[in-house]
Symmetry: C2
Subunit: 410 residues, 2 copies
Amino acid sequence: MISLEQARAMDAADPLRACHERFVLPEGLIYLDGNSLGALPKAAIGRKREVIEREWGASLIRSWNDHGWIDAPQRVGARIAPLIGAKPHEVIVADSVSVNLFKLITAAAALSPERPVLLSERGNFHTDLHVASGAAELMPNLRLETVDRTRIDEALGPNTNLLLLTHVHYKSGDRFDMAAVTRRAKAAGAPTLWDLSHSVGAVPVDLNGAGAELAVGCGYKYLNGGPGAPAFLYVAEHLQERLIPYLRGWMGHAAPFAFTDDYQPAPGISRFLAGTPPMLSLLALESGVESFDGVGMDAIWAKSVALFDLFAALVEERCAGHGLECISPTDPEKRGSHISYRHPHAFEICQALIEAEVIGDFRAPDVVRFGLTPLYLGCEDIWTAVDRLVDILESGRWREPRFAVRGKVT
Amino acid sequence: MISLEQARAMDAADPLRACHERFVLPEGLIYLDGNSLGALPKAAIGRKREVIEREWGASLIRSWNDHGWIDAPQRVGARIAPLIGAKPHEVIVADSVSVNLFKLITAAAALSPERPVLLSERGNFHTDLHVASGAAELMPNLRLETVDRTRIDEALGPNTNLLLLTHVHYKSGDRFDMAAVTRRAKAAGAPTLWDLSHSVGAVPVDLNGAGAELAVGCGYKYLNGGPGAPAFLYVAEHLQERLIPYLRGWMGHAAPFAFTDDYQPAPGISRFLAGTPPMLSLLALESGVESFDGVGMDAIWAKSVALFDLFAALVEERCAGHGLECISPTDPEKRGSHISYRHPHAFEICQALIEAEVIGDFRAPDVVRFGLTPLYLGCEDIWTAVDRLVDILESGRWREPRFAVRGKVT
């Protein structure tokens, strides 16, 4: 049985141990939901004051030039690039994941109008499917088809227009082999659009190495960009000039301040901007991305693997017989950075854990999910979280009626 | 000749005089660009600290329920509604003006696919035209046609699918008669989509009174929501259930936390949400909208008219012979809340004014534009601004080469 002392010893040997000092984490709270909303980087507090009081308050409109607001989408994109194996000019921050998916699906679909099928995974994150359905309803020759994730390969063919997949599944944590899937889609003549929302900042991603054509990702999960932080999108260099966004706007125009009626896409990745970006949220994301400074993705992933394996081992040892079924892959190469359990009373268990200051989240209909954020969690946190879970299961406290009450966001 | 003392006397009699205390305004600066980026409301500073440190930092993911994040798009929309003559449940805050235009153009166009013409004004704000062109390229039966603003009426007809207009022109300040234009479009069988970016918060708008079907507007101009604040959109109650957004996402789903593959639009205005909103920017917008608390739109508009008339009179009196041509309407019913002048060296004059701490802006190719924000400008500010303009024109200082240097945002 793994002891608290052993967990502490692992932390003492952890090269990322000091990184949690970069974040605000409430005393006593074990936060296992950084894959839903990343923690607040301490640097964001001072930076935010500066942005509000000095840039907005004192410099006002001049900040677009004087404080680099106008370049922020490209600048923050370039800082995300090394985390996902992209070149700096292949990534830009803009809008939300949903809006960016729409931009890329519609632009990419136009490349091969004779191919009618937008292919995706049944049970993919639902916003991806909703966006895809809207794009398909709008484009006369496009239709959305979803298949089980095990049948993607056989569904690829001469009709495939675009393959839309989420790299790490939001619920199970299952991870696609990006290089292999991209290669097979390419062999079938279709580009792949990867949603990196549950990967970026925790899981190794090598878009260039995989030959990936398109990607989007979330700013407010492992990137710690703050609630609803803008998203990013990636377009491989060789495709940038071939894609013309249908969802467009003045910030993606070749000459936004010429105020001409005619649309001329900006060169390169900038054409995928639409309207004016939400600067306060975008600059908070910049602080979030800076929380990765000096930390390599290898070290982050090694830490993720250690946290997961410890969590899984402790639950196996200490929660046996309580009906928790791990649905996340045991093979690190096949998973992301969260661990999920199925249980008929997942909702109540999740609520009881929150009361016990262990924050994970519930995913309908029957999954409790724990995000393992390498930058600010340690093995002692994991040990304590499972210890509190054991207490809740053994005491049966989760059966108390208050834990069945649902909020708007559950 | 209007003296400084007279201007001060006007301010002493101004019922909105105290409102400027609600804003941070740098000492000595005359800020005539609140129609491009509104000033910082003092209340936003404390609120922002609370949002960052208490809500994001301490409550983390729980803030979606505990601090009302999940309802913020509807809540802030309902606070904007009385400023534009709408019902609270007809307005929602989301995305950018560009993205909201795209949502509404595509959804509305589908109502009458047999009508091929998306009609707009030549020289409309360019992002509106860019978005419209993208939507038209995507929809097989839709094409964009632009005509001079004086020819809108005659262009309306049985082919008109949707009329897309900006209520107050971003450059000239020309204002359409919303009720009359909406009525004529309706008579031709077409709904109107109004862009209120240069109206909301300064100019009287009565969407319900005009029978207007659709509108969008900007959060970062007169609403003082901060740089790139999210935008809002309006859909008349009777149309809400008939429009199905093509650009959609989980936040606009009937059951966002059921995580189902199938798209089911939320009831009412909420269906026009797409992805997760940028909460830091959205809550700053809430502070901006609150800066209108207790102030009626009548008083705001009366103040706008007084500021404009004073500006125009002073320039006429004191700048004659320097080549400034006012291109904004003298009739208050036909204009917005900014005053614009054409001059062959508008750019240099604008730059010299900025150095003299009078911030207006340049709009290509030859316009200098001054935003008149009723909440935080007084007649003394206008007097001083024109006084500095007189000095720049009489001294010819604007001819110095440094004033011809262009930044990225000009």
